[in-house]
């Protein structure tokens, strides 16, 4: 009796050796399935052994069954690792073939640039809106009243020499300064007013590296019952630090604008030499960036505000000037040529 059991056990051991040898030799994925069918399929060689179980004594059957199942598990696991080995080899081969030249450029759709002047303008709007200034705009074609008269510049005033004006017709001009928006804003609204007005302005200048008949300014106006020069100083210092860096300092110098009193010109520490003195700042360490002052009381009178009720400050600065400083642009004409080689540097 024991011979049947022994024979079956021998057969299983023999199958194990035989199958394992074949599995180790497989070279293609279909062979895996073939071997699986050959040994583990319903009509496979392991099943065949189990079919002979009927001839075995009842007490020996579990032993044979256990051996057979262990063999199945063993072969299944070997087949799987065989399969994995083949797959890995195939994928590895594919990967090896897929190597590419990564130095070729990426597929770039074109990317446009915002105009550098508009970037500076946007930044200024962001800085001032961060401390509560709203944006207003006025027309570029302006009346003599808003551009000059209400700003204390009557027809024969020497201050008109400071700006050569382009006329559309008598009393209608291309605005020479965004300060005209101060008047329009105050005509339309009662204080408190806290606005900035960015926009294009015009002068009758010939074009050269530092002059352009069209350029841009940002005007600021803050009017309330008790606005002080110290607040103007604080506001401009905040602006300069935000625009040029936290270590920037400013200084106020007395100056003259017909529509502010007191009037100041504002310098900030030279952004190139950080105040040590260089060619750009003519060794002074300072660079002029804007004009400002306390709103002249006659403006309040012109727009019909009650006498003595309000004070305010106003400031105005050239966007081109600040952009030229920030970006190191040495010729103002570049801003209006729209040469892609220029614009794309500001992407």
């Amino acid at each position: 009796m024991s011979t049947v059991v022994d024979r079956l056990l021998d057969r299983l051991a023999e199958l194990k050796t035989e199958a394992n040898a074949k599995i180790q030799e497989i070279t293609s994925e279909p062979q895996v399935q073939d071997l699986r069918t050959m040994y583990l399929g319903k009509k496979g060689k392991v099943s065949e052994v189990l079919k002979s179980l009927g001839d075995v004594d009842g007490k020996d059957r579990p032993k044979i069954g256990q051996e057979a199942n262990e063999l199945r598990d063993f072969l299944e696991s070997e087949l799987r690792s065989g399969q994995t080995r083949l797959e890995t080899a195939r994928i590895e081969a594919e990967i090896a073939k897929e190597s590419i030249d990564i130095t070729l450029s990426g597929m770039r759709a074109p990317l446009g640039a915002l105009h550098p002047l508009m970037q500076v303008r946007d930044r200024m709007i962001d800085i001032f809106s961060g401390i509560g200034f709203s944006v207003v705009e006025g027309p570029e074609i302006e009346t003599d009243f808003c551009n000059f008269e209400a700003l204390n510049v009557p027809a024969d005033h020497p201050a008109r020499d400071m700006q050569d004006t382009l006329y559309v017709r008598e009393n209608i001009v291309l605005r020479t300064q965004t300060s005209s928006v101060q008047i329009r804003t105050m005509l339309a609204e009662k204080p408190p007013i806290k606005v900035i007005a960015p926009g294009a302005v015009y002068r009758n200048d010939d074009v050269d590296a530092t002059h352009s008949p069209m350029f841009h300014q940002v005007e600021g106006l803050y009017v309330d019952e008790s606005v002080s020069l110290e607040e103007l100083k604080g506001t401009l210092e905040y602006f300069a630090k935000e625009m040029f860096g936290p270590k920037t300092k400013i200084r106020l110098r007395n100056s003259y604008f017909p529509f502010t009193e007191p009037s100041v010109e504002v310098d900030c520490t030279c952004i190139f030499c950080k105040g040590r003195g260089c060619r750009i700042c003519k060794q002074s360490g300072w660079i002029e960036i804007l004009g400002a002052g306390m709103v002249h009381p006659s403006l309040f009178e012109k727009v019909g505000y009650p006498e003595g009720k309000y004070t305010g400050f106003a400031f105005g600065m050239g966007i081109e000037r600040i952009a030229m400083l920030l970006y190191g642009v040495d010729d103002i004409r570049l801003f209006y040529e729209n040469d892609i080689r220029f614009l794309e540097q500001f992407r």
Partner: protein, 847 residues
């Protein structure tokens, strides 16, 4: 304006050791901006007059000599003799020469050091005129040989008379009072808290041998006119002290009399004119009349310009019949009455002329003289007589002569009785405007030094009396400016205003929307352009006129009419090329494309957001203060042409076409929010298409009858004319309209719970039937169940009849109530087919 430091020091005792830099800084902070400091002696520090004591041959070099040079006591209490090696051939014992001692940095940049030249020590350098940057006939040739009278050890700058410092000041138009040395000295006296000294003229007068009378016919415009007659002057070159001063401030010395009038003007700020009195005399009398010019009155200026005057000019006439036109008042004298070398008797004029009229005359003839400049900014009425006397005093000093009495017009006395005006300012006002205020005593001191009367009222503040020369000070704020500019802006603390936002303005909201659009456009490859507002007809036509004329497709006049419509024209243009303002943005972008094409940049994507300008008629309720009879309309234009991807090495590139452009425009519209009734229209008449656009590839964007913009191909002639090798596509949109919508608000909608069903169709219709026709018909026939229609193919060709087009499209159907049953889908499908068959005789594939 140039101001000499040595001249300034005659009027103000500045603290010892104060440097020119410190003075410049103080002036600049206080509003008299120093633009440049010219140190005449620059580079001449440590250069002295030396005496050559000995000269012998250098033992080791044929071309060099060894010298012993004394620099006297220049370097210490004892006389110093220097050993100097010299290469020049022109020196000899006993000569005086400039010696640069150790430590000097001479004007050509060389620093002088102790050195050994071929084993011989050299303790300095003997200098040539070139090395010192001095124009001299010796030039390169050798050492500068000085006058033998020069004293050994004198600083060389002093020997040259170049020991002054000159400030170049930029004076703002309000500060007419600061256009002179005394004016600047007055500010310095306040800034350095020191005393101002104004000289008093001393004259010995005589009975004038010549009777002088003055009549001002226009006392309003010439309220005061002072003269003095001087007999027997000797006109000649100015003495060196005078010449030096005149040259220091950048002017050229003329003669002693003219130089003195210039001197007094730059001393006190009052323009002075001197006439050759003999040219004015009739019968031993001088009769001066100040009157309006006559139309066409002939006038020959000192500078030899022939002018024809007009009634706006003020004229100084002489003679019984006023027949001698002696001067254009306040601007320039006549050639005929000019002081020359032959002049022996002179008449000094010191007067006031109306600022506006002087300004007009000076502009009209472009004669921007120093005198006119000062009259325009108003002179000090209290200094008229002083200036007249001071001129007489100095002329006698430098040119001799006897001075007659001062004569003036009848109105002068009353006219000059200035009502001193006072301004009351409280401490509260000062603190309110500045944020803080100096001590009352400081205020009194600072403002008092400027020559203001100051009366302190304790708590109430101050009463300030404005001096006659400060015609720019009228209100409390002007006084407060004086206080802060002298006290110093650095005394103020920086404070941020209270952080409040009153209301977000409409523009702030629009600004946000525009930023979204601008970011989108840059992400699609468009760069933001900025063009001048000015343009001209030729530029706007883009060279199209000739082509269109040749092709006869559009009459030239039609374009002209279109262009003429509502252009805003400049009355004072910047030349012919800038006489109109843009009323369309796209031509500017095309010109940008042309510029870039000329640099071989053919792939173009630009956008611009700017107003266009249009003339309009008056509105009903127009306020003359703000009405300009023009309209500004914010627009967006964008232009593209060339490859869809720039950096592509993988074969064929696609080119941008109409539908790319239309797609971008649709996305832009979408970003502005919901707009009803907006549609793209292909106009029937070619005239409705902008002249610079392709007649078959342009769509107008309309809402009802309102045109909002356009999109299409730029006219092929434009590219041809402008050497642009790719097809350009452009779009234009009215942003005033687009921004008038409420900001887009996002609102979440739940997804449909039930799956959608898709059905594809292929319909062949006559070419005149557009995709829009099909889309709209399907929309109105399917209604509720329709989710979307997508066109995915358009075919024209041999497989379908001529004059037909085949559209393939996908209809997406769905319902919120449940999954659509097959029957429902089939019904809809059938309805679409039958409607299109009925309406457009559509042929469906597979039917």
């Amino acid at each position: 304006m140039k101001i000499s430091l040595s001249w300034l020091k005659e009027y103000v005792d500045l603290p010892q050791n104060v440097t020119a830099d410190k003075i410049a800084e103080k002036l600049t902070y206080a509003g008299l901006e120093v633009e440049a400091i010219e140190d005449q002696g620059m580079g001449l520090d440590k250069v002295f007059v030396g005496a050559v004591l000995e000269k012998r041959q250098h033992p080791n070099a044929d071309r060099l000599s060894l010298t012993k040079v004394s620099v006297g006591k220049a370097l210490g209490d004892e006389e110093k003799i220097l050993h100097i090696v010299c290469g020049a051939q022109n020196i000899a014992k006993g000569q005086k020469v400039p010696v640069a001692t150790i430590g000097a940095v001479i004007p050509d940049g060389l620093e002088i050091k102790l050195s050994k030249i071929r084993d011989e020590t050299s303790e300095g350098m003997l200098c040539s005129p070139t090395e010192l940057k001095i124009n001299h006939p010796e030039g390169e040739k050798g050492i500068y040989i000085l006058d033998n009278s020069a004293e050994t050890g004198t600083p060389f700058a002093e020997y040259l008379g170049k020991n002054d410092v000159v400030f170049d000041l930029s004076i703002t138009p309000d500060r007419g009072d600061a256009l002179s040395h005394i004016g600047v000295a007055r500010d310095l006296a306040a800034l350095f808290d020191c005393k101002l000294k104004i000289p008093e003229p001393r004259l010995s007068e005589m009975e004038s041998p010549c009777e002088v009378s003055i009549t001002s016919e226009i006392p309003k415009h010439c309220p005061a006119y002072f003269v003095r007659y001087i007999e027997g002057v000797k006109v000649g070159p100015s003495p060196s002290w005078l010449r030096k001063r005149i040259e220091a401030i950048g002017l050229r010395s003329t003669n002693n009399v003219v130089d003195i009038s210039t001197y007094v003007m730059f001393e006190i700020g009052q323009p002075i004119h001197t006439f050759d009195a003999n040219t004015l005399v009739e019968d031993n009398r001088i009769k001066i009349t100040i009157r309006d010019g006559k139309e066409g009155e002939e006038f020959l200026t000192i500078s030899h310009r022939e002018l024809n005057l007009n009634s706006n000019d003020i004229v100084i006439a002489a003679g019984e019949k006023e027949q001698i036109t002696a001067a254009m008042a306040g601007v320039m004298g006549s050639n005929q009455t000019e002081v020359s070398d032959a002049t022996s008797n002179i008449l000094i004029e010191s007067a006031i002329f109306d600022a506006a009229r002087v300004r007009a005359t000076s502009r009209n003839y472009t004669m921007l003289t120093d005198a006119a400049y000062r009259f325009e900014r108003k002179v000090d009425p209290a200094r008229l007589a002083w200036a007249c006397d001071r001129t007489a005093e100095l002329i006698v000093k430098v040119a001799g002569g006897k001075v007659g009495h001062r004569v003036e017009n009848a109105e002068a006395k009353t006219a000059l009785e200035v009502n001193t005006h006072t301004i009351t300012v409280s401490l509260r006002e000062i603190t309110r405007l500045l944020g803080k205020a100096p001590e009352p005593a400081t205020i009194t001191k600072l403002i008092g030094r400027l020559g203001f009367g100051v009366k302190a009222l304790g708590e109430e503040g101050f009463v300030f009396t404005v001096p006659t020369w400060r015609n720019d000070v009228h209100v409390a704020e002007d006084i407060i400016e004086e206080i802060i500019r002298l006290w110093g802006f650095d005394k103020l603390t920086s404070k941020l205003p209270e952080a409040f936002v009153k209301n977000e303005t409409a523009v702030t909201v629009q600004e946000r929307q525009l930023r979204t659009i601008r970011k989108l456009l840059t992400a699609w490859g468009f760069s933001e352009a900025l063009n001048f507002t000015f343009t001209n007809m030729e530029a706007e036509l883009l060279g199209l006129n000739n082509w269109l004329k040749a092709s006869k497709s559009i009459d030239d006049e039609v374009i002209q009419k279109e262009l003429d419509k509502d252009f805003v024209r400049l009355e004072s243009p910047l030349g012919e090329s800038f006489n109109l303002l843009r009323r369309d943005l796209l031509p500017g972008l095309v010109r940008n494309a042309r510029l870039n094409a000329s640099h071989r940049m053919h792939d173009i994507r630009f956008f611009e957001i700017r107003p266009t300008f249009h003339s309009v008629g008056p509105t009903k309720k127009s306020d003359p203060r703000t009405e300009t009879l023009t309209k500004e309309n914010l627009r967006l234009a964008f232009l593209a042409g060339g490859a869809t991807i720039h950096e592509d090495w993988q074969g064929e590139k696609d080119s941008i076409h109409f539908y790319d452009m239309k797609g971008w425009l649709e996305l832009v519209l979408g970003a502005f929010g919901k707009q009803s009734g907006v549609r793209f229209v292909k106009p029937d008449k070619v005239e409705e298409i902008p002249y610079h656009m392709h007649p078959g590839q342009t769509a107008l964007l309309m809402q009802g009858n309102r045109p909002l913009g356009y999109v299409g191909q730029v006219h092929p002639y434009v590219c041809k004319q402008n050497d642009i090798r790719v097809n350009l596509y452009g779009a234009d949109l009215d942003l005033n309209w687009a921004l008038s919508f409420e900001e887009r608000k996002h609102r979440f909608k739940t997804f449909g719970k039930f799956p959608n069903v898709e059905r594809d169709f292929s319909a062949t219709v006559a070419e005149s039937i557009s995709a829009d026709n099909l889309r709209n018909t399907i929309k109105s026939s399917v209604k509720d169940l329709l989710r979307d229609i997508k066109f995915f193919d358009v075919y024209r060709g041999e497989r379908i009849p001529k004059g037909h087009v085949s559209y393939a499209f996908r209809v997406v159907l769905g319902s919120d109530k449940g999954t659509l049953a097959d029957k429902e889908v089939q019904d809809v499908q059938q309805k679409i087919i039958s409607t299109l068959q009925d309406k457009y005789q559509a042929q469906f594939a597979g039917l």
